[in-house]
Symmetry: C2
Subunit: 208 residues, 2 copies
DNA sequence: GTCTATATAGCGATAGAC
DNA sequence: GTCTATCGCTATATAGAC
């Protein structure tokens, strides 16, 4: 786990009491995602989150101890969802790359999520940001998995030898991030999935 | 010009009185850059800028009418500096691309500037941000100039025909942005200029 | 579990003295 | 041109009633 506190509830209570409370928790997380997506963590207020979910601020803070714990819970919740969406640890590297393109395609349908990560990763660049460590580790991990994927491709002779695998990983990740910024600023002007597909095909030396 | 108010002083007064005041203005702009670079526009405060330059807030607001005018002045000031640094409208497209790599190399020596644009461009993704229009136009313009550069390369037969020029422009810009995020999060792990150089060489099909 | 009320702090901006 | 003083607002977080 990262150094960010997760804000998860202790797991000691009986199951039945959790259904409704769990719903409320998820509703809060959804609202918080939308609020933090619009201008980042520092600009988003608990007040706005509370209003969006129809509670008072104090009511909200009963579910999460403080603002940064709420952010951590949002990120952790999204990680749970996307881990099931894109399996990056499979044995077939081509499938992994296709999964990346599929992810880019899916992302275009959830602009809020894209805005969240885009804004937060830039904001979290500053070392005192509550999600700084989270993003440092996230990038490190993603880069590692990408590098492994490209390594498998090289072993299988399925990739042009132009770039070392570390460079390929850096570039792929950078391209995905950069495309998101341009897409958020002008959604009609760019198709993130198409561009990523073209880039990866160029890297492979053949249609992906 | 963009829709952001520039906050420039009216140009009517005698020259002599401007020397000292101009110095103060630049000092304020430098301080504001540093403050806005750390966590963005919304998180940065006039108070902090004023403290850094050794003035009261009211004193600062004598030079700039309000916070968003200060931001606009910072961006405009940086644009003046970088316009002299990277001539993007030359006739030799290879020289232009080399200039881009040189810019990436230079950027690595001014992390504050990189952090400013990185954080702001993500923050300005939200439509009500005071620099939203500025960044929309900035990206549009940069993309246009890049597209023209790649067009010249195609005409000269100096580029692999893999990508249409619009894609090449999108990708190049995206790569530069994405590399900056990763570099800010882990400066030792990536050389932005090297990666950009490798990418452009791959695009050309030969060493740049 | 949710509320009202409140403590405490920081913000941008203005008025007016010097 | 710079200051002090202040206004009006918003923020996070806590205390305690229900």
């Amino acid at each position: 786990m990262t150094s960010v506190k997760t804000g998860n509830k202790p797991q000691g209570k009986p199951r039945g009491a959790y259904a409704k409370t769990g719903m409320k928790r998820v509703a809060i997380l959804d609202a918080a995602l939308a609020v933090f997506a619009n201008g980042g963590y520092r600009a988003g207020s608990l007040r706005e989150v509370a209003a969006q979910v129809g509670m008072s601020e104090a009511g909200l803070l009963h579910h999460f101890p403080n603002k940064s714990a709420l952010l951590a819970a949002v990120l952790s919740h999204r990680d749970d969802l996307s881990a099931t969406l894109v399996p990056m640890d499979g044995d077939d590297p081509i499938e992994t790359l296709r999964g990346l393109v599929a992810l880019a395609r899916y992302n275009a349908s959830v602009p809020g999520v894209v805005a969240l990560y885009c804004t937060l990763s830039a904001e979290a660049t500053s070392p005192d940001h509550p999600a700084h460590d989270y993003f440092v580790e996230r990038y490190e991990g993603t880069r590692g998995r990408l590098e492994r994927t490209f390594g498998l491709l090289v072993s299988a002779g399925r990739v042009r030898a132009d770039f070392p695998t570390t460079s390929a990983a850096f570039m792929t990740l950078a391209l995905m991030d950069g495309l998101q910024v341009q897409w958020l600023l002008a959604p009609e002007s760019v198709d993130m999935a198409d561009e990523l597909h073209a880039f990866l095909s160029g890297l492979l030396g053949q249609e992906l």
